[in-house]
Symmetry: C2
Subunit: 152 residues, 2 copies
């Protein structure tokens, strides 16, 4: 408690942040955005591998709601980044790096969803919004979320 009125009173209509501060905030949001797609792919591939045994481009495409060509192109990017391996017509697998990224992403996803639920967000909205939100949750924020959940 007391955490709420740090500087609330006036700042509504005045008090822009310092220029470099603001630029860096926006910059971070932009950076977070690239990488978000790769994270989604890696997490999904990991899920598919665990639950079904194989991750085929068509399945991935259907799950993500994109054309299969788009999925294949992005899988190519995953390979370039060293997150996945795939031989033609043989399905997609994750590298060490890919697996560990997937694990981190999945953990973060769960914390975000749980936090949303804990503050009263309805289930479907929580799952849906988390898909976008999670990519912008920094380590500091994630830690705070976990702490909040722990003391609930």
């Amino acid at each position: 408690m007391s955490v709420l009125m740090v500087d609330s009173p006036i700042r509504s209509a005045s008090a822009l942040p310092e220029e470099p501060t603001q630029a860096s905030r926006f910059g971070k949001a932009r950076t977070a955005q690239s990488g978000a797609l790769l994270e989604d792919y890696v997490e999904l591939i990991s899920d598919l591998l665990e639950s079904g045994g194989e991750a085929r481009p068509t399945d991935i495409a259907r799950r993500l709601g994109v054309a299969h060509a788009t999925a294949i192109k992005t899988i190519g990017r995953l390979k370039r980044e060293g997150l996945a391996v795939a031989k033609p017509y043989r399905g997609v697998f994750l590298t060490e790096a890919g697996e560990s990224l997937a694990a981190r992403v999945r953990a973060r996803h769960r914390v975000v969803v749980d936090l949303l639920l804990a503050v009263g967000v309805p289930f479907e909205a929580a799952e849906s919004d988390a898909e976008g939100i999670e990519h912008h949750v920094s380590d500091a924020t994630l830690a705070a979320f976990a702490r909040f959940l722990a003391r609930s």
Copy 2:
């Protein structure tokens, strides 16, 4: 109270969501993403107009941390979308639609930041992450945030 363990026990490694459900979630996250940039511009322009009296492309670019040419191109998009007006060398102004979007965006931004602070996120992280998160907060989630803040 109970809100926490809706389906927590097993779902870790199995139980993917239904295909169309998942596709729609990802689709929403993608959609939210386009529009995010416009929202940032509109909010910033509104802030600059209120606090300084004018919004010049160079200021906008500096604040956002991008090259001035990028800002000018995006301002062009704002004009096409009917959110802003600008005559060459005359600064940028918002239309009715632009102002009302700015108001909504700013309100949402405040709620998101306040919620992050309320669950214990440190100030700088809250401001920084909010910049990315806010664009993925649906109305349902926003309402839940407001409710949570009200009863704190």
